[in-house]
């Protein structure tokens, strides 16, 4: 019973960390229908930038974090400007592939400037774990989970009510028609990539305060893809709900199935779930269905 509690608690908090990263994906998707496969690499690069500002340049946390976020937003802006803007209106596969190119590019940058390959983020969250009903969770996870929830609420409100958010959703539907309304699509793209960069930076700092800055951040990016798929690509609610579901599946599945199957089943369970769920709900739990009319 205590074990169950532990699995549930770990599952939910870890899952919310996946959600945190997933929000950045959904943001781009909702505003421009671009699947950003460089997400993991963005998280990695921005974590290193955080390391650079705080550990290497020696800025205190309260100064280092804003600098990192600003740098990340700036990079997002550059990315949109140089890479994505020329591809507006091109086949969607080309857009996906170009983000793959960006992924390689970022990995290269990381390897060039931080060849040490792993490092610890400066400590800014207390070390002592927290105990809840006999289960234990480290404060780092609680912080990350809490921030994920706050960001979720913020971006949801932004997209639902802010006119920029609404325009972003319109852009994802039909760029040409948005142009025709005299709305600067390019500005919308810039802004959404800047936001996405900032989100990735926040996610990166929190993630790497948990497990250090390593290439594993890229893999977490991969896992967050399964989160957005499960939740529905265009749904923040989906991302925030699906993260804990994946986390729970990992932990409960690992907790009770490992004995019955091979070890390491924990790492494939999310993907098995995805295949099954997609079969029943092809657009994820909260995704909008494609409007199929002829």
């Amino acid at each position: 019973m205590a074990d169950l509690m532990q699995f549930v608690l770990t599952g939910i908090t870890v899952g919310l960390v996946y959600s945190l990263i997933a929000l950045g994906f959904t943001f781009i998707w909702k505003s421009s229908s671009v699947a950003n496969l460089a997400l993991g690499q963005m998280v990695l690069l921005f974590s290193w930038i955080a390391y650079g500002t705080m550990e290497q340049a020696g800025l205190p946390f309260w100064a280092g974090l804003p600098v990192t976020i600003a740098a990340a937003a700036g990079l997002g802006w550059v990315l949109e400007r140089v890479v994505l803007r020329p591809l507006i209106g091109q086949p969607i596969l080309s857009l996906i592939t170009v983000t793959l190119g960006v992924a390689f590019l970022f990995e290269g940058l990381v390897a060039m400037f931080w060849p040490i390959s792993t490092a610890a983020m400066p400590d800014f969250i207390p070390d002592e774990p927290v105990q809840i009903l006999g289960a234990v969770v480290s404060q780092e996870y609680l912080w990350a989970a809490g921030i994920a929830l706050v960001l979720f609420i913020l971006v949801s409100i932004f997209f639902r009510y802010h006119k920029m958010g609404v325009a972003m959703r319109a852009t994802a539907d039909d760029q040409m028609a948005v142009w025709a309304c005299g709305i600067p699509v390019t500005k919308i793209f810039s802004v959404s990539w800047m936001f996405a960069g900032a989100l990735a930076a926040i996610g990166g700092v929190l993630m790497s305060s948990i497990g250090g800055i390593t290439h594993g951040l890229v893999e977490t990016g991969l896992k967050s893809f399964s989160v957005v798929i499960l939740g529905g690509l265009d749904s923040f609610l989906g991302a925030i709900v699906a993260g804990p579901i994946i986390g729970l599946a990992e932990n409960l599945g690992g907790g009770y199935l490992t004995e019955l199957t091979w070890s390491g089943v924990k790492d494939v369970i999310p993907f098995i779930i995805i295949v099954i769920v997609l079969f029943i709900k092809p657009y994820g739990l909260f995704g909008q269905e494609r409007i199929e009319r002829i």
């Binding site: 006119k163 994802a172 039909d174 040409m176 309304c181 500005k187 909008q288 409007i291």
Partner: protein, 263 residues
Amino acid sequence: MLKLNNIEVAYLNVIRVLHGVSLSVPDGQIVTLLGANGAGKTTTLKAISGLLHVEEGDVTDGNIEWNGERIDRKNAEYIGRLGIVQALEGRRVFEHLTAEENLLVGAFHRKDRKEVKNDLEMVYNYFSRLRNLRNNTAGYLSGGEQQMVVIGRAMMARPKLMMLDEPSLGLAPLMVDEIYSIIRRFNEEQQTSVLLVEQNVRIALSIAHYGYVMENGRVVLDGTADFLKNNEDVKEFYMGLSAVGKRKSYRDVKHYKRRKRWL
């Protein structure tokens, strides 16, 4: 007052589509642009609204003036802020947004929140059907309803010049009448100039003040609506009326065409 002076347009620097088009839209008037498929009507509208640049097209010669200011080198955003909006052909609603959100996107540039609220009300007054559908997903609306959304969206920008591309496409006759009467009302009440592209020549000339006929990228005929309505060529080729003023039957067309082909 919009003026196009002898503009030429080419796509991708090679495909020349317009060969010297001149027209003007005086303030507060409805001007219609008629012509066959591929004549370059849509291209003309895009040249005005600046959307051409998005499609790798360019105004290679001539100029476009809006109240004396040259706008053919300006981008779509700037032109949009001047109060020139275009409703694209083919009911391009934002499918996943609700009808009301679609309308609000039209008002993106406006800062006067109160006024936007009032205008929303105005659009619902024009298109009473939309009022009930305001929270429905636009992608599932019927064709006519989507057309209303598109026109309403253009109205929400409080444009000085509204350009409508084939608003009657695929609409039921009653709906065509309705939309056209709304366009006329809007023009009269708001003093908005309208540039109207149409295939349905009869209805377009019924509300327009002035008209231009385009063919192969050139303006071949222009005149007041009454002049055009009574022009024999317009009657024959665009309204399908024979010399006597009666419409030919589509069943008979076949034989007429065949004969023409063998001759």
